[in-house]
């Protein structure tokens, strides 16, 4: 359930900053995930796909990893 909270936080950040304006489908989210962040990429992807927000139904996550505790959204590819 941790990843679901993270997905909701990311959604809130994207909405608040107007990144999803006029976006119908988010295809890819590119993230940097620290090895000490406790995040599992597959669970996070599953959480996005099951948020109940149709824009993320088929989203794929592309992740880079580093030796920190960061969770950073680098870019999204969307329609």
């Amino acid at each position: 359930m941790h990843e679901l909270s993270i997905a909701l936080e990311i959604l809130e950040m994207l909405e608040k900053n107007n990144y999803l304006k006029d976006i119908k489908i988010v295809k890819i989210i590119n993230l940097t995930i620290g090895n000490y962040s406790g995040i599992d990429k597959n669970y996070l992807e599953f959480a996005f796909q099951n948020l109940g927000d149709n824009r993320f139904n088929a989203v794929i996550l592309e992740c880079n990893y580093n030796e920190t505790d960061d969770i950073k959204v680098n870019e999204i590819i969307a329609d």
Binding site: E9, M13, N17, G38, I71, E75, I77
Partner: protein, 225 residues
Amino acid sequence: MYPEHKKISIQRNALESNEIIAKSNKSKFELNKIFVVNLLSSPGSGKTSILEHIIPILKNKNIKACVIEGDVETDLDKKRIDALNVPSYQIITKGTCHLDAKMIDKSLLNIDLNNLDILFIENVGNLVCPTSFNLGEDFKAVVLSITEGDDKPLKYPAAFYKSEIMIINKIDLLKVLDSNIEKIKENALSINNKLKIFEVSCKTNEGVDGLADYFIKQVFIKRHR
């Protein structure tokens, strides 16, 4: 690569919203010079028992403590804290596996920050999820009991990486278990070599005074900063 799609650069912290509220919580704590500890552990490692032993010592030194209890269900831990005659506030998360800054912000409406020296936030028992969410605390303290095995720091590195101190609890059981406390310390320090380690037993009180002294020192440092 995807020429027909929009590529939108973001470059932002995924937990930005939580961070903003955590900063606001922290500024309230700083304003009132309250030392704040976020206690992490797996369920049953003894977070509440440690508080039951530490808080009376703090009270004897006229240090005013308060506890925010985070649990998925029930206020059983809060009732134990209430028996110590210190203020407490219960957050029942109803399934959520961690506390976040918003929950703490809301709970602060019920706490008299003007009359407080130290706030313990007992997070939901879980060594994974609570590590991601900054609450505005001064530091995280991870509790690990002897019964959990010496491999836990390696299996759940985030909790140990992000904590300032590790409290090894239930050391009275070393006599009857095969647990290797040196291995626990070695594994934890391999994740975070700055980790300050305390060994305690809430059964025999061993190490409890030393841990209480450490918190007392932190309160005084905060007061005079």
